[in-house]
Symmetry: D2
Subunit: 341 residues, 4 copies
């Protein structure tokens, strides 16, 4: 069975696993105060061209999102997000559990625009009863989005301009960042993100690690006492070096970017094959998540061959499904699915 | 350098690591819905003789404590704990961050008694302004405690009787539970814990795993929708099978208990050696944490040989230190320290 | 100037004020444990035909909403509300500040239907990733709504049936309840509300009191330890009898209902006058809030005579405004506005 | 029956009530945006010699404490308080419900010293695991304390120096501030408080108002968006002018200070009478709360004459009780009690 229902069904990329094995016998200080974490942080700061950044390694995405958002907001502020944003939909109210409202903006493709953010802020400022409503306090975007789409550099710069105008920290969720960076039309680099965002994370869990997200903080106010917050929110791993070791493996020799290219390359083959057959797509994604809308009959044929996740039911005869490729997907597997089409 | 400053400085026990390597290529459902987690849970329920229990695997201790305590309390209730309890001292206010006060009981050795809990509850019930104060809503104990001491079966049964009297869930933090079970005078079994506690966890991080705690829920009210809470509090690991795989390795063939015996056995050698030299101990611990009070001059000699953590400064000439043994400590290392004494 | 911008611009109804004056010299126990509160609670329970209900008096609406909602939800649950619900829009995120998401349902007229609630609950139950999303935990409605509309008995009974089906507490915000009860087509009584709702409040602040809301709890689980929550959330008035005294005055001789009839009667005159002139209305409200859409030129003529609040700007030539009548509005004032039309 | 069990059993001082009656017919903007609030704020800023201060009026003390503390702390910080502080003992965990730990300092008389605060901060700074513990984030004191004692100017200046040293906001709870200012040996003025504290409140509820506390903010960071927080925490009174009107009455012609002198003067008569009879006192209070330790037999004689509250049971033969005088206590009442002694 070819597993394409998500990109976290497998273990670690072999190179990551090897590094964990090689370092297993070491004794190091706990809680991320070890040399592997320091080394991985240094590598990431180099890639970001931000020696002044702080880098923290956390275990998972929800944890990273809620800890960063807690650090950025005052109690009466909310976080602006696309209505399809992960924090708005799939974190069981983790943000609300820290006391903050998610202020959603409608988005058919998972992206929000500088204009939408500006309009939301203007509406708040011009509301004579503003203090009876939640104040926009930061902006959350994901890249790629939950629907696989990516931001252009121009879009990010426009968003940055508007968040700067209203003094709102900009946070980018990069759970699958390697796939955004590997997309054909991508014109954004890690250094761009580090220049434009006040915080963002380089996701490991969905990019070849067993687990782990590398959070990059560039805004001084967000850096302050951040380890207190990680500990308080349950995100401080005792054997913290496990995170550093994995990111060392991912960042050396460009493995992280290779994994992105591998995943996206196979996904593009799937995309073209479905398009060639005339199947429409729910959203035009240039990354490792693909959303073809297929006749139910086709699903029956696929059922014995591969897995997918259900995305939507546009009508009773058709289904929008999601395929996710990953480092563990092989060319042979994709060939087999395409042949079946 | 012999590393004894904590029991989470090393990687995984080789048998745990091997299992992670062996299963790395598998594709499984995410979020702990896989067969490894189910299998490990079944093994633990067998050991506990509680087929009706629910078992959840979480990454770390603070996360486990705060998630369980959140599940157990209504908003105006607090959790009763020794003043040295981990939740009261070393979790950066994680419990308060979920809205609850920690109601502390003085304890020189880390343990609290049924009588102390009873007195605290009685004082609340008899307070004419009780509703202006935090209501005791559950009891938290750790075994071994943060000072290495352990509860006897009689003590646990007395605590159970008093928590039942006041209808308070009883939760036991077993971060180093294997060491309690391996202590010479221990008369408590996993089945006893599962019979007497409404929830407890079997710690993995400090007992040979890379990370992971196995939370056993026996009280029906605590089981309800518990996975929602794990997800909300950031504790749901995407590649959740990593937890199941590690506990499979730990629970098969009694490895978990062997690790406890190994760690405690070496610690007892240290204890006797320090006692033989006439050094007093801060607390009489039968487990893998030892707290000798030594002249500062001795510390200078130890400094090049082994590490420890600072526990207290009883006077300007002496220091109370903590040694922690673990699965990774060797007989040769302990021999070397004893020889130095 | 005729003040119609809100219904809390004036002081207390004279009968309420007189009672406060008459009782000012008394010495009574604090925190609502006095005979006035007991007496007012008894009167309300009689009107509700629910001798088993608990009645608590709180100072304001946001406080009442957040305290009750905190009592009703487990941490991972949210409260279902119209998207125009007061808790969703005008309480500065008070609900989120207690850790809970507001799950909104689109509503052009401020009401939600049993079908909408059912659909939302079904969608949650059928979501294979439900535990990654916020669980609907209760339903909040307001009557009259924020747009002045009211629920029929049949609508409330349908909502009750669906909330019972999913075991969700039903909470009704009655900030202006007296106006709903006084509406021409209203077929709902206090006894109906007490039979159909698990909790609801009879608003005083907007119905002739200086301040105060009377919260009626009929569900046993909500009654438990409720005073602890009132105290914790800052809602326990030291001189609590002030609330009881005011509700005694409002509930004796039907003053509360008279105030409703007075306010609604004058509002209906306004409504008919605007309709007679051909002005459309933003929403067809049968209560004391009226929302005519008027040419901007008319607003200029009204500006020297009366006040209103801005509701919406349908186009550049027209404005939707809100008029609020209250116990303090007089027939002469309404006549003057109508004459001006 | 002479009521001395608390200082909030009666209604408003006649001058306050008269002002409420006189202004009842006015129509004013809601939520504290009226001229009465502005006028009372101006009067208070004049008394404080701080034209730059912000003044907010809230209904009660718990609400004021939790709102201010929420404004001052980051999520991982706690508030330092005497272990007898109101926030630590009698607010049902309101501070913890906003996510923050109360860091208590032992205090037999309700006061804490600059040295104690300094020691607590030093211990945190020197703790190598500081980030695993709650960071001291502000200091809370009450004046008079919950035990009636007061701070000298020198003590406050020393506390200010230490809070400045660690950059901790200093907040003073003045629920009974008028009684502190009226104490015989008091050397502190409102201007001193406004100079030394970052925030403090002038209590009305226990000083002649129906309800109401005037919160003075001098630190710019605390002023920011404070009304959002008041609204979110349920503390924004719809008919907000009621607070302004009452403080106008209290601050004009020095009524607030007269009430303090009246209450304290009568309390001093009680104090001397009990001392003259040889009864010890639990704490030497110079304000309106007195804590004589009396034989149980005396309590039986007092029982038909006056009320008190129970403070402690030093032994089976004696009881420590609390008498509270207020604006409503009369010379004749005190004479009657003294005669009985």
């Amino acid at each position: 069975m070819i597993r394409l229902e998500c990109d976290y069904a497998c273990g670690a990329h072999p190179a990551v696993l090897e590094r964990l094995i090689a370092t297993n016998g070491e004794h190091t200080p706990g809680y991320g105060m070890d040399e592997h974490c320091q080394n991985a942080a240094r590598m990431l700061k180099d890639l970001c061209q931000r020696p002044d950044a702080d880098v923290h390694f956390l275990v998972g995405g929800t944890q990273t999102n809620m800890t960063l958002i807690t650090a950025a907001l005052r109690p009466y502020q909310g976080v602006v997000s696309a209505d399809s944003g992960h924090i708005a939909t799939h974190e069981t109210g983790a943000i609300e559990a820290t006391g903050h409202k998610v202020l959603t903006i409608p988005s058919p493709d998972g992206k929000i625009s500088a204009q939408q953010i500006d309009a939301l802020c203007q509406a708040h400022l011009q509301d004579p009863t503003a203090e009876h409503t939640v104040q926009p306090g930061m902006v959350y975007i994901s890249n790629p989005t939950e629907l696989g789409t990516i931001y252009t550099l121009a879009e990010l710069e426009a968003i940055r301009a508007v968040t700067a105008k209203y003094d709102l920290p900009l946070f980018l969720d990069g759970a699958r960042l390697g796939c955004a960076l590997a997309a054909e039309d991508n014109d954004v680099t890690l250094a761009d993100l580090a220049r434009l965002c006040d915080a963002f994370y380089v996701g490991g869990t969905k990019m070849g690690a067993l687990f782990g997200e590398a959070l990059v903080l560039t805004h001084p106010a967000l850096k302050r006492d951040f380890r207190y917050l990680i500990k308080q929110r349950g995100g401080m791993l005792a054997k913290g070096r496990l995170l550093g070791v994995q990111f060392e493996a991912l960042l050396e020799n460009g493995l992280y970017f290779d994994i992105g290219r591998h995943s996206v390359g196979l996904a593009m083959q799937l995309k073209r094959a479905f398009a060639a057959k005339g199947y429409p797509t729910l959203v035009d994604s240039p990354t490792n998540q693909q959303f073809p809308i297929v006749p139910n009959a086709l699903l029956e044929r696929l059922a014995g061959v591969c897995t997918w996740s259900l995305q939507a039911k546009p009508d009773s005869e058709h289904t929008a499904i999601r395929f996710c490729t990953s480092w563990a997907t092989t060319q042979a597997e994709i060939d087999q699915i395409i042949a079946l089409l």
